[in-house]
C-alpha cells in the first residue's frame, strides 16, 4: 500500500502551476469522481424513485394524481398468489441451476485439469456458450425443444423413449429452462475452477503425498480450501445472475405452462408494463433488491471478499 501523505515527493517537484498543484493534491478524489458520480446518478435516483413509487398507487392515467397508500403495496406482497409463485420459482431455479452448474463445472475441471491445461484452443471452444447472447440461446433451445419437429424429441424417438413436450410440459418446463441455463453457464464455472486449479501451490501436495494422504483427503483438506475464494466469486456471480433471469423465460415459455416458470423479473415486468401498475412493481422490486443485497452482503462477509 502506497501512502502518498508520508514521504512521497509529489507535485511540488514539478510545480506546473496552481491548477496542476490542485489536481495533484486532490487526485485521490478526482480519480474516483467520475465513477462515483455516474453510479450515484444512476442508482440513487432510481432508488429514491422506487421508494416514492412503492408507497403510492399510480394510475396509468397521467392526469390522475398519485394516491398515497402507505405500506399498502407491501401488504399486497403477502397475499398476492402470483408473487408467491414467482418467488418460489425463482428460488427453485436459482438453487437447482447454480448447484448443477457448480457440481458439473467443478467435477469437469477436476477430471480434465491435467489433460486440458495446455489445450487453450479447446478450452476457448468450450467457453462459447457463455459468450452468446442469451436471446440467441433461448431461441436455439426453443427450436431444439419443439415437440413436433425438435431435435430432442427425434433423439428420444430413435432411442425408443416417450416423446416429451419439454418447455411445454408442466413438469418439465422449469427443468428445460434449467438445462438451457446450465448449458450456457457451466463453462463459466468450469473456466474459473480451471484457473483456480492452475494457481494451486505444489508443495503442500508433495508433503501430503509423503504422508500418504488419499486423493480424497488431499481434495478435501487442500484443494477445496485453496479454491474457496474462486468458488465464492463464481457462486456469488451466478446467484446474482440467476436471481435476475429474464431472457430465457421471456422467449422459451413466457412464464407458462400453468405459471410453472414465472420468475420474479418476468412478474415485475408484467406488473409494471402489462398491468401498468408501477407502484406495486416498485414494491416487488424493492423486495428483490433488499433480498439480493442482504444475501450478497452476508455471503461476501462470510467469504471475506470485501477486501
Amino acid at each position: 500500500m502506497l501512502r502518498p501523505d508520508k514521504g512521497m515527493p509529489t507535485a511540488s517537484l514539478r510545480l506546473g502551476g496552481a491548477l496542476e498543484h490542485w489536481t495533484e493534491r486532490h487526485l485521490r478524489y478526482l480519480m474516483l469522481a467520475p465513477t462515483m458520480l455516474i453510479l450515484l446518478a444512476l442508482t440513487i435516483f432510481p432508488s429514491f424513485y422506487m421508494f416514492y413509487a412503492a408507497v403510492h398507487r399510480i394510475s396509468p392515467n397521467p392526469d390522475l394524481p398519485w394516491e398515497f397508500v402507505g405500506a399498502g403495496n407491501f401488504a399486497r406482497l403477502l397475499t398476492d398468489a402470483q408473487f408467491h409463485v414467482a418467488l418460489r420459482n425463482t428460488v427453485v431455479f436459482t438453487i437447482v441451476a447454480v448447484t448443477f452448474e457448480f457440481l458439473l463445472g467443478l467435477g469437469l475441471a477436476l477430471l480434465l485439469d491435467k489433460f486440458i491445461r495446455r489445450l487453450t484452443f479447446l478450452k476457448t471452444v468450450l467457453m462459447i456458450p457463455m459468450m452468446l447472447p442469451p436471446i440467441a440461446v433461448a431461441i436455439t433451445w426453443k427450436i431444439i425443444y419443439e415437440p413436433q419437429f425438435g431435435v430432442l424429441n427425434e433423439i428420444m424417438f430413435r432411442l425408443g423413449l416417450p416423446l416429451q413436450a419439454w418447455a411445454g410440459d408442466v413438469n418439465l418446463a422449469m427443468f428445460s429452462i434449467i438445462v438451457a441455463d446450465v448449458w450456457q453457464w457451466t463453462p463459466f464455472i468450469f473456466l474459473l475452477m480451471l484457473a483456480g486449479l492452475a494457481s494451486l501451490p505444489v508443495e503442500p501436495y508433495e508433503a501430503a503425498a509423503l504422508d500418504g494422504a488419499s486423493s480424497w483427503r488431499q481434495f478435501w483438506d487442500l484443494t477445496l480450501p485453496f479454491l474457496k475464494p474462486v468458488i465464492a466469486i463464481a457462486l456469488l456471480l451466478r446467484v446474482m445472475d440467476a436471481l435476475r433471469l429474464f431472457d430465457l423465460v421471456f422467449i422459451l415459455t413466457g412464464g407458462g405452462p400453468a405459471d410453472r416458470t414465472k420468475v420474479l423479473s418476468l412478474y415485475i415486468y408484467q406488473v409494471a408494463y402489462r398491468f401498468a401498475d408501477p407502484g406495486y412493481a416498485a414494491a416487488i422490486s424493492l423486495f428483490v433488491l433488499f433480498v439480493t443485497i442482504l444475501l450478497s452482503t452476508w455471503f461476501m462477509k462470510r467469504m471475506r471478499l470485501a477486501e
Partner: protein, 419 residues
C-alpha cells in the same frame, strides 16, 4: 498506448453528441409483424407524395402495448399515432391516452368514417364499444378463421365441419389413427394471450360471455361457460402434447407441415399455407367461419387500429395521415401487401377475389361480420393474464375444468372490482 486510449475516449464522447434523434414530422408506433410492415410501406409512399417525413417505430408484438402505455403514462409524446390491437383500445381510451377523433372529423367536414368500412370494424373503434366516440380507425381486418384439411376430414367421415361436434368427431378419429405423430386438432395453449385467444371463440359459440351486457357482473362460471369448457377439454385431448406452450406460430406450422388437420388461426397464415417454400399443404387447406356450439359460432376479432396519442404535438398531421391510409385505395394496396382489408369494396373487389391467394376473402368477411371483440375493459391485459393462467393450468391438467371456471370468475371479479 495511454494517449491513444484518451484519444479514443474523446472520440467516444463526440460520438455520443452526434447521435441525437432526428425526429420526423410525426411518428407511428407499429408491431414488427406484417401489419407493421404494411404501414411502413404506406408511410414511405406518403412521405414521397406529401413530402412529410413519417417515422415508423417497430416493436416486438407484446412490446407495442408496453411502449404505448409508457409513452401515455409519461405524456412523452414520442409517438403521434399508435397501431393498436383492438383489445387494448379500452385501456388506452379510458386512461386518457387516446384523442377523441370527433372534432377532427368535423373539421374535415365529415360525419365520421364512411359506410364502406365493415360495421364490426367500426364498432370496435368506438369506446365504449359501438356507442362511444371514435378513438381510432380500423386498418387491418383480422378475425379468426377455422382452417382444416378437407381431404383428411373427409377420410374421417366429416364433409364440411359446421359445429364443434363435427370437429370433435373428425379430430378424434384422426388423432387415434395418427399414432402420436398426426393430430386432428391443434390450438394455442400458451399461457396468456394465446390460450385466451383460442378459447374465447369456443366460449362464445356456447352462448357464454365474460361480462353481462352492461359490464356489471362477471359471468365466466356459468352453465354456458361449463359447456364451452367441456368442448375445450375434449379438443385438448385430441391435440398433441406440448400445446401448453403453443402460439399462433406453432399452430400454423403444424398445419403447414401436415402434422395436424385443423385449427383456429389468423388469416395471415393463408399466404404461408399457399407458399411451397414454407408449406407442404399448398392448395389443401380449407377455410370456414368458426364452428357453432349451441349458438352460432363467432370468431374473435383481432383488428389493428390507428389512434392518435393525446400527448401528440402533431395531431392534425396524424389525422390526415390516418384518413389517407384507411382510404379505399390505400386499404386495397395494403391488402395486396398481405394485410386483410376492413372495407366492403376491397373485400369484394373482383381484381383481388379472382386471385388464388385471396380466395379466403368471402369467408373472412363473413367471419368479421360474425365476430365478437374480446371483453372490453380497461384492465383487459390484467384480466387476460389471470384468465390465461387458469386456462393454461386446465390445459396442463393441474386443475379441473370446474376449478378453472371458479378461479377465473374470482380472479376477474377481483381485478375488475365486480362482486
Amino acid at each position: 498506448m495511454v494517449r491513444k486510449l484518451f484519444l479514443v475516449l474523446a472520440a467516444a464522447a463526440s460520438a455520443l453528441a452526434i447521435n441525437g434523434a432526428a425526429w420526423a414530422d410525426f411518428t407511428v408506433l407499429v408491431p414488427s409483424s406484417s401489419e407493421g410492415d404494411g404501414l411502413r410501406a404506406a408511410a414511405a409512399d406518403y412521405s414521397k407524395m406529401k413530402g412529410t417525413k413519417v417515422e415508423i417505430v417497430q416493436a416486438p408484438y407484446a412490446n407495442v402495448f408496453e411502449q404505448g402505455a409508457n409513452a401515455g403514462a409519461t405524456k412523452s409524446g414520442v409517438f403521434d399515432i399508435i397501431l393498436m390491437d383492438d383489445p387494448w383500445i379500452p385501456f388506452f381510451a379510458e386512461n386518457g391516452h387516446l384523442e377523441d377523433l370527433t372534432p377532427f372529423f368535423k373539421k374535415a367536414g365529415l360525419e365520421g368514417p364512411d359506410t364502406d368500412f365493415l360495421s364490426k370494424s367500426l364498432a370496435i373503434c368506438r369506446n365504449p364499444y359501438n356507442t362511444g366516440p371514435y378513438v381510432c380507425l380500423p386498418y387491418v381486418g383480422n378475425a379468426q378463421m377455422f382452417f382444416y384439411d378437407a381431404a383428411k376430414y373427409k377420410e374421417a367421415g366429416v364433409d364440411a365441419p359446421k359445429t364443434w361436434d363435427d370437429v370433435l368427431k373428425a379430430s378424434q378419429t384422426l388423432t387415434k389413427d395418427g399414432g402420436g405423430r398426426y393430430f386432428g386438432y391443434v390450438f394455442r395453449g400458451g399461457q396468456g394471450n394465446p390460450v385466451v385467444a383460442d378459447f374465447m371463440p369456443i366460449f362464445w359459440s356456447y352462448g357464454a360471455n365474460m361480462f353481462n351486457e352492461d359490464r356489471t357482473k362477471v359471468t365466466i362460471d356459468t352453465p354456458e361457460g361449463a359447456a364451452a369448457m367441456k368442448t375445450f377439454m375434449a379438443l385438448r385431448d385430441v391435440s398433441p402434447k406440448g400445446i401448453e406452450s403453443y402460439n399462433a406460430n406453432e399452430v400454423g406450422t403444424a398445419l403447414a407441415a401436415g402434422t395436424a388437420a385443423s385449427s383456429i388461426n389468423w388469416p395471415n397464415w393463408v399466404a404461408t399455407f399457399e407458399d411451397p417454400s414454407q408449406s407442404k399443404m399448398v392448395g389443401k387447406i380449407s377455410y370456414s367461419p368458426i364452428p357453432a356450439g349451441t349458438k352460432p359460432g363467432s370468431s374473435e376479432i383481432g383488428h389493428w387500429t390507428m389512434g392518435i396519442m393525446s400527448a401528440s404535438k402533431n395531431k392534425q398531421e396524424a389525422f390526415d395521415f390516418m384518413l389517407w391510409a384507411t382510404s379505399p385505395e390505400q386499404i386495397k394496396i395494403s391488402a395486396e401487401r398481405g394485410n386483410p382489408p376492413v372495407r366492403t369494396s376491397v373485400f369484394t373487389d373482383p381484381e383481388l377475389t379472382k386471385q388464388e391467394k385471396f380466395r379466403h376473402y368471402p369467408v373472412l368477411m363473413e367471419a368479421i361480420q360474425a365476430s365478437t371483440p374480446r371483453p372490453r375493459h380497461p384492465k383487459w391485459p390484467e384480466i387476460e393474464n389471470a384468465f390465461g393462467i387458469e386456462l393454461s393450468k386446465v390445459v396442463a391438467g393441474t386443475i379441473t375444468p370446474e376449478e378453472a371456471l371458479k378461479n377465473s370468475q374470482t380472479a376477474v371479479e377481483e381485478i375488475t372490482g365486480l362482486k
